[in-house]
């Protein structure tokens, strides 16, 4: 978009006086789409859109109001703002509005040529546009009502066969094309479960009819591939309910031609409540909010970002202070949305929040005292720096990586010994601050025994070629490729070719048993291929969205690893930065973090890009990234909302309540009750965060949603509440027995502490704050009601452990 605006500004020519259109304010700039017009066949055409950008950032669709002037009028015919070819030649089109003008170069070629209707280029897109081949209709794996099309057209050859040959004479009638079942069903002239998909005589109807009239031919040879699809405008900020904006979609083909495919692109909105999209390509604004409008054509999905604001909204930039680039980029987005971020959280809140997030522990009483007493204005930064040096920080990230790498024992496959070696390898890498790219490269290209070269356990934890490849894509690039195993990804750019091409990197992993039966040796077998599901072609290894590398004499995995964990792979740094971000905010800039796809765009692309760039620039030292995040003002915002940001939960305009994850919660209960746990294979007093094996389960950890590491899905860590959790904290051992075991209350009573002092200490331990006067009064009164003070104080302790304030990071 930026480039578009820049282009538009450069192209501005002051030809007309301002305010031609009276009531509209004069635009700050004018965007004209497309930037150039190419017409190259008699059926070609091009829609032109004009978007005015006002000084306050709002955009207005002024297509109908702009003045369009073609220099050589003989070349083009115009209907509305769509241009059709009349004669070959070049000319230019001048678009003027509100005192600004933009020139659009026009080229018309081959305007007398009328190419035949192509099955792939013309007919297949109709099936997608009219939803014939989507998953709930004929695109279903078993088809619908006896007729199947490939899902979103991944198999044109098969579709042509099924239409023309599968049940001869049923679906098409070449003698009377208009009476083909295909036409009659599609036009709703005969009963059709899917209803009427197109009108008789409509553009789509005519395309299919023309193809039938020509004898329903298959394409004689390969058709030019679509190399890119563009959607315009790329963004819009609409002023109030009812505002509209037309869209234009243009496809570019490998033969250098382009085509206006607005009428063939399938449109969808990820938030119809704010921006509704009609299949004709018109967006209508509704409630305030953001929406991503997507257009799918062939295997390409492209999106445009829409913001809808209440009509005539008054907004004044709060000029929020910015600690670093994180704040600059978050605030830039908030400004567009007219949202004012919350105030800073208190020192107490910050201390508890950042200790839980960085180290997974509660601040001790002395940490509390010294932090609160510190008058240095930089004390928050100092605290972050000191927490980053703690070994608990390492433990936290070893746990998170152990989830991504599925460190666990598996019966008959991964024994305890190699699992521990794997865990220790990981721990060593994180503790020594090995650059993440180096660590990942070492992991993915690992060879040798699962004892001596523990990273090889990665290929022992999962042994199925396709699954290994899916896991690598999901963990390191955030992509769920599974869909593309059986059909082109319905919500993303990935095709089956991409899927099997990437899987081919993992087709030559050799596995054999070591001398010790518990050890497996992973080696490069040098043989073995991956075949495409449709047609069984052997696939050459190809980077996802990248090149087909030269593999001569090299281990495929090595080549893949060197590309994957490098700046050449556009997804790696951003994906890991997003994972780190999500840990501190409870949601990713792309959410979920392992659901990166075109149709799930980042809420703040500039921010994600910059985090990825910084991560690369820091030589993949994620501690530096953590420091940037935790020292940003955005991380330190209060949970208290204001009128403008209360209903926003995506743009990091205020802090969110986040339930504390299972391991950390158990550790915190142990810390505040001064008790110790004993987990299998670990010494007494070790923390739950340090458990190596995903298969280690305790009732508490399972109930509160610890990941079993059976899959790489980020969804394995469960944060939702359930009945068993509530019952366990109310009646279970973890709260009740630990309060007793720790003996904190009898100890304090013996020391002669007053009830008020003890209640205050419990508050400091659990909440990192002192009780309010009201709380202190009501709780001391409650204790005073009872004979047995120790028991009454235990009840207070119990209530703190059961409280919402304890359960959440805030």
């Amino acid at each position: 978009m930026k480039t578009m605006i820049r282009f538009a500004l450069l192209a501005v020519l002051s030809v007309l006086p301002a305010g031609v259109n009276g009531d509209e304010p004069a635009p700050a700039s004018l965007n004209v789409f497309p930037a150039d017009i190419h017409l190259s066949a008699v059926r070609d055409r091009q829609l032109l859109l004009v978007q005015a950008v006002l000084a306050n950032g709002l955009t207005v669709d002024v297509t109908e109001k702009a003045e369009l002037k073609v220099e050589n009028e003989g070349l083009l015919r115009r209907e509305g703002t769509t241009f059709y070819p009349v004669a070959d030649g070049t000319t230019k089109l001048t678009v003027s509005y509100g005192g600004q003008a933009v020139e659009v170069p026009v080229v018309v070629q081959n305007c007398q040529v009328d190419p035949p209707v192509s099955f792939r280029l013309d007919v297949m897109p109709v099936f997608m546009k009219t939803s014939c081949n989507n998953g709930s209709c004929h695109g279903a794996a078993r088809g619908k009502d006896g007729f199947r099309l490939s899902l979103f057209g991944f198999d044109p050859e098969g579709d042509h066969y099924r239409l023309t040959r599968e049940i001869p004479g049923r679906r098409i009638n070449l003698a009377l094309p208009a009476e083909s079942l295909l036409m009659e069903k599609g036009a709703g002239q005969v009963p059709h479960t899917g209803g009427k998909r197109f009108e008789v005589g409509s553009e789509h109807y005519n395309t299919v009819l023309r193809w039938l009239e020509a004898g329903a031919p298959n394409d004689p040879g390969p058709t030019p591939a679509v190399v890119s699809v563009e959607i315009y405008p790329k963004e819009a900020v609409l002023d109030g309910e009812g505002a509209t904006q037309k869209l234009m979609v243009r496809a570019k083909y490998a033969d250098g031609t382009d085509r206006d495919v607005t009428s063939l692109a399938y449109f969808s909105s990820n938030n119809e409540n704010s921006a509704e999209i009609a299949q004709a390509g018109l967006v209508t604004a509704h409630a305030r909010g953001e929406a991503f409008i997507m257009a799918r054509f062939e295997t390409h999905t492209v999106g445009s970002h829409f913001i809808v604001l209440p009509k005539g909204l008054q907004y004044e930039d709060p000029k929020t202070p910015e600690n670093n680039y994180v704040d600059t980029l978050v605030n830039a987005k908030l400004r567009k949305l007219r949202i004012v971020p919350s105030e800073l959280c208190t020192d107490e809140e910050f201390l508890r929040r950042v200790s839980l997030d960085i180290t997974g522990t509660m601040p001790t009483m002395s940490e509390y005292d010294s932090f609160m007493a510190d008058t240095d204005p930089q004390k928050r930064d100092k605290l972050v720096d000191s927490l980053l040096q703690r070994k608990e920080f390492v433990d936290m990230w070893v746990m998170k990586w152990a989830e991504l790498l599925q460190v666990r024992t598996i019966a008959n496959r991964v024994e305890k010994k190699p699992m521990l070696a794997y865990y220790n390898w990981l721990k060593d890498r994180i503790a020594s601050n090995t650059p993440t790219d180096k660590m990942v490269q070492e992991l993915l290209s690992a060879r040798g025994g699962s004892f001596s070269s523990p990273a090889t356990n990665y290929y022992q934890t999962e042994t199925e070629t396709l699954k290994v490849s899916e896991n690598v894509a999901q963990v390191f690039m955030g992509m769920r490729m599974q869909c593309a195993q059986c059909h082109n990804h319905p919500f993303d750019r990935w095709t089956m070719d991409d899927y099997y091409g990437f899987a081919a990197f993992f087709s030559q992993i050799g596995r054999k048993q070591g001398e010790d039966p518990r050890e497996t040796i992973i080696f490069n077998s040098g043989g073995g291929e991956v075949r495409h599901l449709v047609g069984g072609r052997v696939m050459a290894p190809k980077f996802l969205g990248g090149a087909t590398p030269d593999l001569a004499g090299r281990d495929r995995r090595q080549v893949m690893a060197e590309w994957l964990a490098s700046p050449e792979n556009p997804y790696f740094a951003k994906n890991l930065a997003n994972i780190v971000w999500a840990h501190f905010f409870g949601r990713g800039i792309i959410h979920e973090v392992d659901d990166v796809r075109v149709s799930n765009p980042p809420v703040n692309a500039e921010l994600l890009d910059e985090l990825g760039r910084k991560f690369t620039e820091y030589n993949y030292d994620f501690r530096k990234l953590v420091r940037d995040i935790c020292t940003s003002r955005t991380y330190q915002l209060s949970t208290k909302t204001n009128e403008t940001n209360a209903s926003d939960h995506k743009n990091f305009a205020h802090s969110e309540l986040r339930r504390i994850r299972a391991e950390v919660l158990l550790d915190c209960i142990s810390i505040v009750t001064t008790t110790q746990d004993k987990f299998p294979g670990l010494p007494v007093g070790a923390r739950a965060v340090q458990i190596a094996d995903g298969n280690t389960a305790t009732y508490f950890l399972t109930t509160f949603g610890r990941a079993k590491r059976e899959s790489v899905c980020s969804c394995e860590v469960k944060m939702e509440p359930n009945l068993s959790q509530a019952l366990h904290l109310i009646n279970g051992d973890t709260s009740n027995a630990k309060i007793r075991q720790g003996g904190l209350i009898p100890t304090r009573l013996k020391e002669g502490k007053s009830v008020g002092d003890i209640v205050s200490e419990l508050y400091l331990r659990c909440f990192s704050r002192r009780p309010t006067e009201k709380e202190l009064a009501s709780l001391t009164a409650l204790v005073a009601e009872q004979q047995n003070t120790a028991e009454a104080l235990e009840d207070v302790f119990w209530s703190l452990l059961n409280s919402r304030e304890f359960l959440f990071n805030h």
């Binding site: 938030n271 709380e775 919402r804």
Partner: protein, 432 residues
């Protein structure tokens, strides 16, 4: 997003909003606004389901589909007996069950193509074939999603605990997870995990604790507003309801039954689990899943069946009789299912191996006809012959009895509306 809510965000809200809305209502309300196939679930002929799952794959030949006229290598070493429905024979070990056959519908034509335990199990718990791209919710979790709790009893309960990963919530929020008893009701000193107040905490003291907790929570809940906070509160209220309601607590207490009845069920795993299931559905549970035994009989099938069937037979027949006597059979659907059947021919170790092409399931009560044999297998019990019953139709029929339209779409991650069951039809021949 500012004030509008996207379909995706409904999903990620994941929690109960606002006062007076149950979790399920919250989800229903939210999904109702989305552009998906939407039907309201209303209690149907079955108020509850008792789902008896026999893990390992029970042989259909040695249970509900004997082939007494098949050659010996197909017939196997066991014989069959007449039931109280003329002309219907079942395996000789199911003596008691034979006497309640007039209350049961035997489906002898169940079929799916998954011969691996976990894949077959997936089918029978979710009504879907396994997908690499999506985790489907179990029937119990869907029921939990569609209906709120009654009388403080959790909607979906597993006895003794969640039997496998497919019995969970799949793509639905884990708030709809089954409530597990946590230990076997047949065990001495059985108690439900965390249901009893801890030692030293009397009801009176518990009331004080709750007062203290209210005092502590007050500051935070006044200051903070979040759906996640309300959701925790919902479950605390449910927990209090369960702990404080004597009626609810007693639902889990088998000692409230007479000795005679407990003996009639059998004082063993099968008997205790089924009696527990009956108590729970009476108390208000919607979907109770229980497992019994291990049925993966690759070797010596006769010995295996002789060992495992009698307690199951006794308990199951007693469950049917007991429900009938209490007038609850008409609104309680009891199902027996297993992940698949076993191979037509006896193998080299006198056992049978995995066979998903045809096997038997049992349904009774809750609007299902009694004394019915639905569907047949061929003469060697190797292929379905009449009315093949696929997993989709079977699950759809169960949902139908519960009052849930299985064509309804629930929202899965990535804005994917997913039918509860994809393309299933109600087999009305099974219904009253």
């Amino acid at each position: 997003m500012i004030s509008g809510q996207s379909r995706r965000s409904f999903l990620h809200v994941g929690f109960c909003g606002g006062v007076g809305l149950s979790l399920a209502q919250y989800f229903q309300l939210k999904s109702a606004q989305a552009d998906i196939k939407q039907y309201e679930s209303k209690e149907g002929s079955a108020k509850s389901v008792i789902f008896i799952f026999l893990p390992g794959g029970m042989a259909h030949q040695e249970s509900f589909d004997p082939k007494p006229y098949a050659p010996i290598e197909y017939r196997g070493p066991m014989s069959s007996i007449q039931t109280n429905v003329p002309g219907v024979f079942i395996n000789e070990r199911w003596v008691q069950t034979a006497q309640v056959m007039d209350k049961l519908a035997l489906c002898r034509s169940m079929t799916h193509g998954e011969a691996a335990h976990e894949r077959g199990t997936h089918n029978m718990f979710t009504g879907y074939r396994p997908s690499p791209a999506l985790q489907y919710p179990s029937m119990g979790s869907v029921v939990s999603h569609e209906f709120g709790p009654k009388n403080n009893i959790p909607q979906y309960i597993c006895i003794p605990s969640q039997p496998n990963e497919f019995a969970g919530t799949g793509y639905l929020s884990s708030s709809f997870a089954p409530f597990s008893l946590g230990s076997d009701p047949a065990a001495g000193g059985f108690s439900v995990q965390d249901l009893q107040l801890p030692g030293g905490v009397t009801d009176e003291r518990f009331t004080r604790r709750r007062r203290a907790l209210d005092a502590v929570n007050d500051y935070f809940v006044t200051k903070e507003k979040a759906d996640s906070l309300d959701a925790v509160d919902t479950f605390y209220q449910r927990a209090y309801g369960l702990i404080s309601s004597q009626q609810a607590r007693e639902a889990f207490d088998l000692s409230k039954e007479t000795d005679a009845l407990r003996d009639a069920y059998g004082r063993n795993t099968a008997g205790a689990r089924m009696l527990m299931a009956r108590r729970l559905i009476e108390a208000g549970a919607r979907f109770v899943t229980l497992t019994y035994g291990g049925w993966d009989m690759h070797d010596n099938i006769a010995a295996g069946m002789n060992g495992q069937v009698p307690p199951l037979d006794q308990a199951f027949a007693q469950l049917i009789r007991d429900l009938e006597a209490r007038g609850r059979l008409k609104d309680t659907l009891v199902c027996i299912a297993s992940e698949f059947g076993r191979t037509p021919k006896i193998n080299g170790t006198s056992g049978r191996d995995h066979w998903p092409k045809v096997f038997s399931v049992v349904m009774a009560g809750g609007g299902v006809k009694g004394g019915l044999v639905y569907g047949t297998s061929n003469s060697t019990a190797s292929e379905p012959e009449d009315n093949p019953l696929n997993v989709e139709d079977w699950a759809t029929t169960i949902y139908h009895c519960l009052g849930i339209v299985a064509d309804k779409e629930l929202m899965a991650p990535g804005d994917r509306p997913i039918e509860i069951v994809d393309g299933g039809k109600v087999r009305s021949e099974l219904l009253v």
